[in-house]
């Protein structure tokens, strides 16, 4: 479904991704793990067309995303819920959700998805006329996920959905991720919360200093000694 092959990304002289290859198959939940600055978010931004790779291909159902605009990529159903939530604080909950569906023309489907996200996150339904800025951090994260779901994703990119949230909210977010996976939504999940991520993921990749250093099933990765190292070491070969 999605296939990255030998992708290089650089910001000026700093190499963010080096020869990254990874794959997400239809219906899978794939975790992308790694320490801060390992290149996880860069990988998602490359898939979304915000960052352009220097080398390599990003193919989604036969289309090269490396040459497509973010506008077109959303049109293909590849929707990202970015790190830090980035909801529109001055817009109401409903307006935020409407912007999530801005590329869609099927108004009956949009109405159905609105009911769906309100059933996933009842609190958003209660606060539908409040502005995003008045929501709590956890509610904002729910809104960010709900907004992405309003785009009817065929591939959902989730960047650090549990970051900075209270444990009980983290549990709720992961419950929803599991529910979406059960419903057949294909998900690429970037997480710092390794244990939680590997508990829900079918497979995972571990990035360190812009390279894939480990790949395997959730169970394999959990027991891999290199996993801990990827987080503990700052990878001295970085950037070379």
């Amino acid at each position: 479904m999605l296939k990255l092959e030998a992708v290089d990304v650089a910001y000026g002289h700093i190499k963010a991704l080096v020869g990254v290859s990874l794959e997400v198959r239809e219906g899978e939940l794939v975790a992308l793990l790694g320490a801060n600055g390992a290149g996880k978010s860069t990988a998602l931004m490359t898939i979304s067309g915000i960052v352009r790779p220097r080398e390599g291909t990003v193919v989604y159902n036969g289309t090269d995303l490396a040459k497509a605009s973010p506008f077109d990529i959303v049109g293909l159903g590849v929707i990202q819920c970015p790190e830090g939530r980035r909801i529109f604080g001055g817009l109401t909950v409903l307006e935020n959700l409407r912007m999530g569906a801005v590329r869609r023309a099927d108004s009956s489907g949009v109405r159905r998805d609105l009911d769906f996200v309100f059933s996933l996150f009842p609190v958003l339904g209660q606060r539908r006329h409040q502005t995003g800025a008045t929501l709590s951090g956890g509610e904002q994260q729910m809104l960010a996920i709900a907004r992405a779901l309003m785009g009817a994703p065929s591939l959902l990119l989730l960047d650090e959905p549990s970051l900075g949230l209270a444990p009980i909210v983290v549990q709720a977010i992961f419950r929803v991720i599991r529910e979406l996976h059960r419903r057949g939504v294909t998900i690429l999940l970037v997480e710092q919360n390794v244990r939680q991520a590997l508990a829900v993921a079918d497979r995972g990749y571990v990035l360190a200093a812009g390279r894939v250093i480990l790949a395997g099933s959730g169970g394999e990765l959990r027991s891999a000694p290199e996993l801990e190292q990827a987080y503990l070491s700052t990878a001295p070969e970085a950037g070379r």
Binding site: P70, F71, P82, G90
Partner: protein
């Protein structure tokens, strides 16, 4: 003239001039909100529209036709400005965009000087725009009432646009978080072009009202309005549309207030005093009246 009549008279003056500033300030604020660009060339759109309206009247066309054509010319000029001067700079540094806006201004003003001579020309306006309504001691210019009414209608339409339509909501979204807007699939180029089109349309309307008010046009006529509109949007909070409107009326009110209160020897320093008051205001609210002071939630 009784105190009440005087107050009413000055209120109408303040709201009328504030309305013109508001229409200008919205155009600046819309573009700044999304691009972080202070488009100083915005003032020259007034000049473009006014000259087109003047030219067509000289050619013998009736005022309404010339007026519509003038507003259309401003709108098209604004769209062309975005396409030619600013779109190639997408993602460039804010200073680069600001400098570009200065060069667009210099280009347009000198083009107008070459085409139309640097001297001012009288701007013919129909009788209704020059009428004066007398109510007791009160003398109200028809133009003031028209400016207020036109602005009220345009502000109402604009409010509906940014609250109800997809592209209007997308415009607000893009001004809050451009990256998130792109990730949602909002067509940012279209949103920016729309912001320029609306702002330029409003500038065209201001051009007609302004030219009719002062009775003449000249190639540099856009400078003063854009400066005032810039100040208005800074007072209100740069990038905020309600802020721009509020700031415009505050500025208009201050000007008229000082005009009325200052002894005649000091009236030439009115603008200097107005700006001094604004600097004092900004010391207390650096982000303007409606500018956000809120910190990002963690």
């Amino acid at each position: 003239m009784s105190a009440l009549e005087l107050l009413l008279q000055q209120l109408i003056n303040a709201v009328s001039i504030g309305s013109l500033y508001a229409l200008m300030a919205i155009g600046l604020a819309m573009v700044f909100g999304i691009l972080r660009l202070i488009n100083f060339a915005h003032g020259d759109l007034i000049m473009v529209g006014s000259y087109v309206a003047l030219l067509l009247q000289v050619l013998g066309l009736p005022f309404p036709v010339a007026a519509v054509a003038g507003v259309a010319a401003s709108t098209l000029a604004g769209l062309a400005m975005e396409r030619v001067a600013y779109r190639p700079l997408r993602g460039a540094h804010e200073i680069a965009m600001l400098l570009t806006s200065f060069s667009v201004t210099i280009f347009l003003e000198n083009l107008a000087i070459i085409l139309f001579r640097p001297t001012s020309r009288p701007f013919p306006a129909p009788a209704v725009l020059r009428s004066v309504i007398t109510m007791g001691q009160l003398r109200v210019a028809g133009l003031d009432l028209i400016a207020i009414a036109v602005t009220a209608v345009l502000l109402a339409a604009l409010t509906l646009f940014v609250r109800r339509t997809n592209i209007g909501i997308a415009m607000r979204a893009a001004s809050q978080d451009l990256l998130a807007a792109r990730l949602m699939g909002i067509n940012v180029n279209r949103v920016i072009a729309t912001a320029f089109a609306i702002g330029s349309f409003l500038a065209g309307v201001v051009g007609l009202l302004w030219s009719a008010r002062v009775g003449k046009v000249d190639p540099l006529m856009g400078f003063n309005p854009v400066l005032k509109a810039f100040v208005a949007s800074v007072i209100g909070g740069l990038g905020s549309l309600p802020g721009a409107v509020l700031g415009a009326y505050v500025l208009g009110g201050l000007e008229i207030l000082l005009q009325g209160l200052l002894p005649s020897a000091l009236t030439p320093y009115r603008d200097a005093l107005v700006f001094a008051i604004l600097i004092a205001l900004l010391l207390f609210r650096p982000n303007g009246i409606l500018g956000s002071t809120e910190k990002e939630k963690i």
